[in-house]
């Protein structure tokens, strides 16, 4: 072939290829989508000129470019209607973005891949979604998108992303971080688990064994997960824990005789039910709060001496406890102990206590306790539970700081039949960790019988209970099998009746292996089963997905939670707040819990005199509420100190005490009519009746020295501010925000403030 012909041919080919490139570009799917979208727009357009223009409009090539975020996103080539509200119900890719997220995260600034991942530069579907080989960050859809929120929302709750917020909290509240380090999340929540120093003086052995075996058979929804401990392990750990004595309890004199009826009264005054489950309702639901442990069977769990000591010296025994230190005399404490022991015991466990076998003789017990201590460390118990002179807390699990970036091929999927993706792995692992347990990883036929037996012996878990303590004795194979079998049975892995097959002795080690594998004796998995629901597992999965190496894309984009003042009372007030553990239920600014009212604006809200009297004689705020503040029997001095401090510190400058100009009687009259017209009486009681949803505005609490009507208790400025927008003061308020004019607000405020107790002359405190 001549050179000339070859030249001609190659030129033709090149020209064809170049042409093909153009054809490819013009028939690209994104161009088709744009034409479709333009047609959709044209259908909705009313102006005929625009209609015509739209139909003949050429596809355009566009991308979102933000070098600061490293974003080059061409997603908008196909998703043209992403910010067009008319496209709410259009088919994909034209549909608009669900929700209102683009208002706070405009796509022109942030792009798409910063949240959704995928391959921003790609121009066709599969590649853009990143569902191609070697693209590590495939598109996130649905609730999985929340996994990327944390790149900018580095701490605190993420607005509009409930699952990641929940999952991130769960990492601390479930105690995950006790075993797995996660940088930036901090340590385990101290409320997760109690300190176990002195536990032996507290609990009964029978209760402890039952608790360790199946926590959920003792308490509904226990915080401690199920470790699937065998009976031998339970025995050893229990032996170790029962050795932890508290000299304070052991050396205490006998508890004085108590009186049930007086104890019952104290129980009611203390409002134990606010924090503790004290009974089950008729349909089996626990009744009571969840801050403290359930008390339904507490008399079976512990003893009078410990209860007495606890009630008298609460904070000395557990300095980190959330429980207030109540003022109790010896007699009162004894009365309450009497009530508790009469009321809350479990007859099932009582029987077990009676049937409890004789404790093992001294020497053997000591050895068992040593094994128990090793197990305690081995299972990572010390991560959550402190023990004086016990194993130091070490994190037994792998670090999870960057688990969301870990290479997929480095995950051990084992024999678990799930898709090989990170979220599938996380979900399966947190939902049912047990399925990731292992057998021995060597086929039996590759080993000699003796080698196999060695492997079996070494592979048994927990290591502390078996292999480390004694080397496998030399001897006949048959005897060794029986020897191992005896120990495994003693540890509770196998039934006592399990016997090796009589015939064919050569296969006995293989039989042993199979039997032990089936009983889970080789399981090296220490992760317990938390019994999580699907939704909780999903929240945790998303939280784990969010733990990636990628930090915030740029410092400017870090979203910080709204700044709040730091609440840290000092001196006498600080001591009172600590003694009565006010912040176990109430919140003030950035501190505390939300069981009871938020006190951040309390000074602006209530009358100082009322606050003082309330602290002395707390009452239930609503007729429908069962919970109320406990009666702490504060001294006059204590109550005044607390009331004055709260009143001054939590008074807001932007909420006036009184309105200017002063409210008039005419306004109050108008307000009364308005109160009916706006339907306020549906939720609030006044002197003419009303609903029970909000607090009553006209009820006098019996024996309360000052008025408890709205006008006695509340402050004008606060009522007006509240009416303007309740949710600005209390985001979770049930009261709807009404469309009120300034005059209407004044009228309603005047009416509410005119509701005053017409009772006897009021006592005024200085």
């Amino acid at each position: 072939m001549s050179l000339r012909a070859l030249f001609g041919l190659s030129s033709l080919l090149l020209a064809l290829l170049t042409l093909a490139t153009f054809v490819d570009e013009f028939t690209a799917s994104w161009a088709d989508h744009q034409r479709e979208y333009n047609t959709l727009l044209a259908e909705k357009a009313t102006d005929p000129a625009l209609k015509k223009e739209l139909v003949s409009r050429w596809p355009v090539f566009e991308q979102i470019y933000n070098p600061e975020l490293g974003v080059v996103d061409r997603c908008i080539l196909c998703h043209r209607g992403i910010d067009n509200p008319d496209m709410k119900n259009a088919s994909q890719p034209h549909r608009s973005h669900p929700g209102n997220l683009l208002e706070s995260h405009p796509q022109q600034k942030y792009g798409c891949t910063i949240c959704h991942q995928g391959q921003g530069r790609a121009t066709d579907k599969q590649a853009a979604w990143g569902r191609v080989s070697h693209w590590e960050k495939p598109l996130l859809t649905g609730s999985f998108v929340q996994a990327t929120c944390t790149r900018c929302h580095v701490s605190g709750d993420v607005p509009q992303a409930p699952l990641i917020s929940r999952g991130r909290k769960m990492l601390r509240s479930l105690g995950c971080v006790a075993c797995h380090q996660v940088e930036g999340l901090g340590g385990v929540d101290p409320r997760v688990a109690p300190d176990l120093s002195g536990i032996g003086s507290k609990v009964t052995r029978a209760w402890l064994s039952r608790w360790l075996t199946r926590p959920d058979s003792v308490l509904p929804a226990p915080k401690m997960p199920d470790y699937g401990l065998r009976s031998g392990e339970v025995e050893a750990i229990a032996a170790y824990l029962m050795q932890q004595r508290s000299p304070m309890v052991d050396s205490a004199p006998a508890v004085p005789e108590g009186d049930y009826d007086r104890g019952s009264l104290i129980y009611k005054q203390f409002q134990c039910i606010d924090c503790h489950v004290t009974r089950f309702s008729r349909n089996g639901k626990p009744v009571g709060g969840s801050i403290g442990p359930a008390l339904v069977h507490v008399a079976t769990k512990t003893n009078r001496k410990w209860l007495f000591a606890w009630l008298r010296e609460t904070h000395r025994m557990q300095p980190r406890t959330l429980m207030p230190h109540f003022k109790l005399s010896d007699q009162q404490a004894a009365d309450l102990v009497e009530y508790i022991c009469e009321e809350w015991y479990d007859p099932d466990i009582e029987d077990e206590v009676l049937d409890e076998p004789e404790p093992a003789p001294g020497e053997q017990k000591k050895e068992l306790a040593a094994v128990g201590m090793a197990l305690f460390a081995n299972y990572g118990c010390s991560g959550c539970h402190g023990i004086d002179h016990g194993p130091s807390p070490t994190r037994i699990g792998p670090e999870l700081t960057y688990i969301g970036s870990k290479d997929l091929h480095r995950f051990d999927f084992g024999k678990v039949d799930i898709r090989h993706t990170r979220p599938d792995y996380f979900f399966a692992k947190v939902k049912d960790p047990g399925q990731f347990g292992k057998g021995l990883d060597v086929p039996s036929h590759l080993l000699s019988s003796r080698e196999l037996l060695e492997r079996i012996w070494k592979g048994l878990t927990p290591a502390a209970l078996f292999s480390e303590r004694t080397p496998l004795p030399a001897g006949k194979e048959d005897d060794t099998v029986t020897w191992i079998l005896d120990r495994v049975k003693a540890a509770g892995f196998l039934k006592k009746a399990t016997m090796p097959p009589p015939s064919d002795e050569a296969s006995r080690p293989v039989w042993l292996r199979k039997t032990l594998e089936n009983s889970g004796a080789f399981s090296v998995l220490k992760m317990p089963d938390f019994g999580l629901s699907d939704e909780d597992s999903l929240a945790l999965t998303i939280a784990l997905m969010s733990l990636t190496e990628e930090g915030p894309p740029s410092k400017r984009y870090i979203a910080s939670p709204p700044a709040t003042q730091h609440f840290d009372p000092q001196g006498q007030v600080g001591q009172l707040f600590d003694r009565y553990r006010c912040l176990s239920c109430h919140s003030v600014w950035d501190q505390g819990e939300n069981l009871a009212a938020d006190l951040s604006n309390e000074g602006s809200r209530v009358d100082r005199n009322w606050l003082y009297e309330f602290l002395r004689r707390p009452y239930s705020m609503r007729r429908t509420l069962t919970i109320a503040m406990p009666q702490f029997h504060l001294t006059e001095d204590e109550a005044r100190t607390l009331a004055d401090y709260l009143w001054f510190v939590t008074t807001r400058d932007d909420i006036p005490g009184r309105l200017d100009p002063p409210l008039t009687a005419t306004e109050a009259e108008a307000g009364k009519l308005l109160f009916q017209a706006k339907g306020c009486q549906a939720c609030h009681q006044t002197s003419t009746g009303g609903g029970d949803v909000g607090p009553s505005l006209a009820t006098q609490v019996p024996d309360f020295p000052v008025g408890t009507w709205a006008g006695d208790k509340l402050r004008e400025g606060w009522v007006a501010t509240w009416l303007k927008n309740p949710h600005a003061l209390l985001p979770e308020a049930r009261e709807p925000r009404l469309d009120l004019t300034q005059a209407e607000i004044r009228a309603l405020t005047a009416f509410v403030m005119s509701l005053r107790w017409p009772g006897p002359q009021q006592k005024v405190n200085p």
Binding site: F144, G679, D739
Partner: protein
């Protein structure tokens, strides 16, 4: 003066041609490979499947779940946990709350905008009881839609419709 023809030796000519040809072949080959990669059933990424599985096991859809949270917080105290007008506060109202499980409410649900109006503007604006307050400044339109979706769930399928 004459123009000199560029002096290209046949060897270089051939090399250039081979390069062009090689490029063409390479381009066609790459296109082919790309097509292979995009074949349906390519890389298995299971995000949806996992979410779908969870969604299937949940008794409520995502919209209904969000609606239920709102309903339990704001509405159940009068309308009752299951919508039967038996909430804690129902007996204290002069005109009782709407029973969402009654057939007449199911009929009302056909006109969704009317129901939305009652929620957003209150009972009085639609000639109903003033005990139903307006929620228009408390709930945004998306939340209202979610709430209505849950109300439909509470009301059950319309009469005559095939059961589940």
């Amino acid at each position: 003066m004459t123009l000199d023809r560029p002096n290209i030796t046949p060897g270089i000519n051939r090399a250039a041609l081979i390069a062009i040809l090689a490029y063409c072949v390479f381009a066609i080959f790459m296109e082919f490979v790309r097509g292979m990669q995009h074949a349906p059933g390519g890389a298995p990424y299971g995000f949806e499947s996992l979410e779908e599985r969870i969604a299937l096991s949940a008794p409520l859809g995502p919209q209904e779940t969000k609606g239920k949270i709102l309903y339990d917080h704001y509405c159940a105290v009068c309308h009752g946990d299951s919508g039967q007008a038996d909430g804690l506060n129902a007996s204290r109202l002069t005109i009782g709350p709407r029973d969402f499980t009654a057939p007449e409410f199911r009929a009302r649900l056909k006109d969704e905008t009317a129901v939305v109006k009652v929620i957003r503007e209150g009972g009085l604006a639609s000639g109903l009881s003033s005990s139903m307050p307006p929620w228009g400044l408390t709930l945004n339109p998306t939340q209202t839609t979610e709430l209505v979706t849950y109300l439909k769930k509470l009301a059950g399928p319309p009469a005559g419709a095939p059961g589940p």
